[in-house]
Symmetry: C2
Subunit: 675 residues, 2 copies
């Protein structure tokens, strides 16, 4: 059968026939690949478990995602539910536990294309804020999917600012019920996932009102849809908020409450309670709950944010090896595009960002666990530092990774614009992460508030947390580098990053002080310094990433080839940051112009070094073709065959073209017959 005779709907197994250029890159791996894979997985046992789970899932066609690029939102939604329901069966069948090691890989394996993510937030929120009775009543139902929950916080007119929410829950002493209301359109709950078409119950945040007095935000379990026929219950107006930039499979919804009565026991009452007579009782601190917000950020970095950039790098680098374009050297065949310096600068710098993001996410997870252990022993000291780092890293890494995916996508030229490349949807999904779980500018400013406090403490010689300890150390005014090789010395570039962060924090602190001295109110001074505060915050987080990357080098084990390869990426990440933020380092003369030229030369030299190991460095992440779901990025590099074969499945090629009948035929059939 000739290559143009494609069987429709048939995906050819071509992975044994690897593209020659790609095969060549793999001929002599520069380091033991499996060893690096183990390191990236956090141990060989993790690699083993992951592959077991992957094999079980990928071999079962019920979980396939290969058609998602051709599906409508409705099909995507139904597909995600189907996968989730079947996953429950598979887990039971395989003996995987909900909290077992296997579950860690589910997000990776499905690329997030599953349902009921917010349903899980519903469960954890009840576990966090519910009494033992409430937990005993609701959690088993939810775990068995006998009810489907949503977490309803944001409103049409209100986002992260909790106190601004307008939904009310008024206590009625006579009936011992809460009456929930959406007083005006801006109070409509808007965006909650799993609400649009699935949820039967909501974990609803509302302003508690007792005898005309407001008691602030409290949470209520509110039945939304009938368990008999799924129709909205009386007083409920519910639906889907419509199409989004991505997340077609998620039914983000809206919810309006009109005199909706729920029994008194539906208020989540672990930390506050309303007595039958309407008196309000506060029961301890909710500080620990603050913590759930942090864990969501920590885990999204490891599970969604970093892997998205990793996948984009794998796709773009494999494609850049296979793709040949234009004359590099006159008279020889078209060059592999990865041999162009500009292409290297795009995709290899992003590979360094991907590794940096991977290691710093792992580090953040460990820091979280340590603080969690402390908190369980009643020690809350590290919480502000953890909060500041998690907020800032969430903001910086989502910016980096989202922007990096677009760099990779554009580096694949026209084919990167095809959904079949897998790249557009990596971007359109990750773009959301800059907004959800804390809008990035808001988060940077939260980190800045921590930094300004620490700076003030350092000035008065108080103890400050480890991550900002550089605010107390003596500082050199200029960088000590004298040639380009000096910039491959982590001490040199870590000091440069420290210096930059210090200067920008100091600068913002001084500016704040000056404005207040000049008569500005505190809030106004803060606002008028906020652009610079964000700069300071980014510089600090950037420093943290570089520092953690360097520290990670010491933990890689004893294989020198692996150490060398990762050290090169670490250098590349640090120098990429200097190259792209040069003004911050030059500003006060810490780097001179000629030192910056050295750093740039070292940076460009590194690109040619990483070029040689690039394919191995992406292969080591061990993503399967099913996970990449990319015509450009498959292991075998047969990009043109895949693009061609996958395109055959597009509805445009399988459905009748009604536009021809309706509009074109009358025109075309008037053509003179001689043509």
């Amino acid at each position: 059968m000739a290559w143009w005779q494609v069987q429709r709907g048939f995906r050819k197994a071509i992975s044994e026939d690897v593209n020659a250029d790609l095969a060549k890159e793999r001929e002599a791996p520069p380091f033991p690949l499996e060893r690096l894979t183990n390191i990236l997985d956090g141990g060989s046992e993790n690699t083993r478990v992951r592959r077991t789970v992957e094999a079980a899932i990928h071999s079962d066609p019920v979980f396939s995602r290969e058609d998602i690029y051709f599906q409508t939102a409705k099909e995507r939604y139904e597909g995600a539910i189907k996968r989730t329901i079947n996953l429950r069966k598979k887990m039971e069948q395989m003996g995987w536990k909900e909290n077992g090691p296997e579950h860690n890989f589910i997000y990776r394996i499905f690329g997030g294309e599953v349902a009921f993510n917010v349903h899980r937030v519903f469960i954890s929120s009840i576990l966090g804020l519910g009494t033992d009775e409430q937990i005993a009543k609701w959690v088993p139902l939810a775990k068995n999917l006998q009810i489907i929950g949503t977490y309803a916080q944001t409103e049409l007119g209100h986002g992260t600012y909790l106190r601004g929410l307008e939904t009310t829950a008024t206590f009625n002493i006579d009936s011992q019920e809460f009456v929930l209301n959406t007083p005006k359109i801006s109070a409509t709950k808007w965006w909650p996932g799993d609400l649009g078409r699935s949820a039967t119950h909501g974990f609803v945040l509302a302003q508690l009102i007792i005898k005309d007095k407001a008691y602030g935000m409290h949470a209520f379990i509110v039945p939304i849809r009938s368990l008999k026929d799924h129709s909205p219950l009386p007083g409920i107006v519910v639906g889907d908020i419509g199409p989004k930039m991505a997340f077609e499979h998620i039914d983000n919804g809206y919810l309006i409450l009109r005199d909706v009565h729920v029994p008194k026991e539906n208020m989540l009452s672990r930390y506050s309670q309303v007595l039958p007579d309407g008196s309000y009782v506060k029961l301890g601190s909710e500080k620990i709950n603050y913590f759930t917000m942090i864990i969501v950020r920590v885990s999204m970095l490891a599970n969604e944010v970093t892997p998205s950039l990793v996948k984009a790098c794998i796709i773009a680098i494999r494609y850049s090896v296979v793709r040949r374009q234009s004359e590099l050297k006159p008279g020889v065949p078209e060059a592999q595009i990865l041999d162009y310096q500009t292409q290297q600068q795009k995709v290899l710098s992003q590979l360094a960002v991907a590794y940096a993001s991977h290691f710093v996410s792992a580090h953040l997870g460990q820091f979280y666990s340590r603080v969690y252990d402390e908190i369980k022993m009643g020690k809350f000291d590290s919480l502000p530092e953890l909060h500041a780092i998690a907020a800032g890293l969430k903001a910086l890494l989502t910016e980096y990774c989202a922007a990096g995916i677009e760099v990779c996508r554009k580096a694949c030229g026209g084919h990167g614009y095809s959904l079949l490349s897998g790249l557009p949807s990596l971007y359109t999904k990750l773009a959301a992460s800059c907004t959800y779980e804390g809008e990035n500018t808001v988060l940077f400013l939260q980190t800045a508030r921590f930094l300004i406090k620490c700076f003030a403490a350092a000035q008065t010689h108080q103890a400050i947390p480890q991550s900002v300890i550089y605010l107390t150390s003596p500082r050199a005014n200029t960088c000590q580098a004298t040639n380009k090789l000096d910039f491959l010395n982590p001490e040199i570039y870590i000091k440069a990053y420290e210096h930059r962060a210090y200067r920008l924090i100091q600068n913002a602190a001084n500016q704040l002080q000056a404005l207040v001295k000049a008569g500005a109110e505190q809030y106004d001074a803060w606002n008028r310094t906020s652009v610079q505060l964000v700069q300071a915050s980014m510089a600090h987080c950037h420093y943290i990433i570089v520092k953690v990357f360097v520290d990670t080098l010491k933990t890689l084990g004893n294989d020198p080839s692996i150490h060398e390869a990762i050290k090169t990426l670490c250098d590349l990440f640090a120098l990429h940051g200097i190259f792209t933020n040069s003004g911050d380092f030059l500003h006060d003369g810490y780097l001179s112009g000629s030192q910056l030229d050295m750093a740039t030369a070292a940076y460009l030299d590194l690109l040619a070094v990483v070029r040689k190991t690039a394919v191995s460095l992406t292969d080591a992440f061990d993503y399967t073709d099913e996970q990449l779901n990319s015509a450009l990025g498959s292991y075998d590099g047969q990009v043109y065959q895949r693009l061609f074969e996958w395109a055959q499945k597009a509805p445009a090629n399988t459905q009748v073209n009604s536009a021809y009948e309706n509009y074109l035929r009358p025109l075309l059939q008037s053509t003179p017959s001689k043509l």
Copy 2:
């Protein structure tokens, strides 16, 4: 009727009821709005004609785009064809000519959501390369849509590098035909618009082969689909390439040719001809054709690129006035988000970019016309300069505008992620412009080649074009500014931009020379300098934009309030550029750290100034609600009502939820009845 009782599919006319915050912004316009609109339109007559055309189109529901966010690709495609066919009728009925002034506004009015764009390229390509007989035969048929054409250049394995194309057209002397072939999969034509489902004929670029000798790329008219029933003709394999990041309404296609015979007269023969005996004749120069590539770039900047960012700014700024979020000042109501400095920095800087892009696009159009007039008189001297500027500005403005849209979109928080905001599709469409009509890095390097040549010429005191004349002028080593107000002096910042461009061009030229001196081959030296060449190219184009913006200030007429408002935007654009590229200005000490601080202070001060006129500055662009097609950006600012009402039309709210029947019901109905 209460606000939650929405009639499905009904779009309420609420534009008379303007949101109070937005109304307040418009109470005392800072300048005569209509006057600025006329300036932006290029004269009051243009404003008049535009509004006439808008009224005619918007009042006719056959042209509506209000449902596109809910449509499948198939519906989008059919809708675009429907609009295009009806537009032909409307034009006839209104007496608008194809080349008349009315036609200039069609792209704006439809937001590009029409069909047969590449069909028009088919026509202009025949006009460019066809003989008089070929033009007389094909063009009238195409203009009457009796045939539908596509322009088939790029192949699966080959993009902009023309010489790399693999499709062949072999001359058969016996039959006096050309036989076209796709020798292997990478030669499959891929991406041509209007090819996937519509085209009947292709303008196909192929390697001409006569008696086993290759003569390079030539163009052939190839029938693709039957004019009787639209089925592929013998030897043709044709279809759609599948889903893309946007452009759902365009049927980008693929084409495989297997021994397809076309008569000898189907080779476009204005500049070269094959005689019956197989001898090949070259007929004059094709230099003028080179020119069509330039006009496409020039007009895309004015018609697609700039307007996309303008629309994003209008949407984001109106929303930022309406949206209230968090406490700015303690104890007072939530603040309008446009009052936050960080928000101003995002959206107002982009407004400055939008104006800069608007003015430089207009300037480029004028430059093009001038060169075109010269060329008609046989004078080709300015062509390299025009080519270099058009290439570089295409690259830089598509980067700026695409990135700027994302800044605006993210500045709208969660709602900016809804397709109903209009913002995601502005981005996903414009993102393509970084790749099509010349991949941006390739274009930057073309401009760099021109700059390096000019630099060498300047060194040897040869004449060089006006746009790079700064390469010959004496230069100061440091900026003369002594306080922040100096940075509102265009002379100060123009000199800084000149200096930066000069330094980066010089730097790249020196580096090239040094590498060659050290023994590198020319091509290798070029490749190893290419990251820096791109930097130099960007700096030069950035300078051009600043220079043109300043020059434009002199042409604004005699209204001081308009002059002031636009001057402020010009300053903002220039200082935004310094703020975001500070390293380039600090590198050799042209700006000192303290001068940069002054520039930053001036920049941040400007934000607060532009804040006051921002709504008027966006209103002046005079985009209709239909053109914006945004729930967040409508003139009346009723954002929550629109989001709510538009969401009702989503298929998720109008179709049965089959996932409930198939998957959820069995689970939910097992719930204990007491719930």
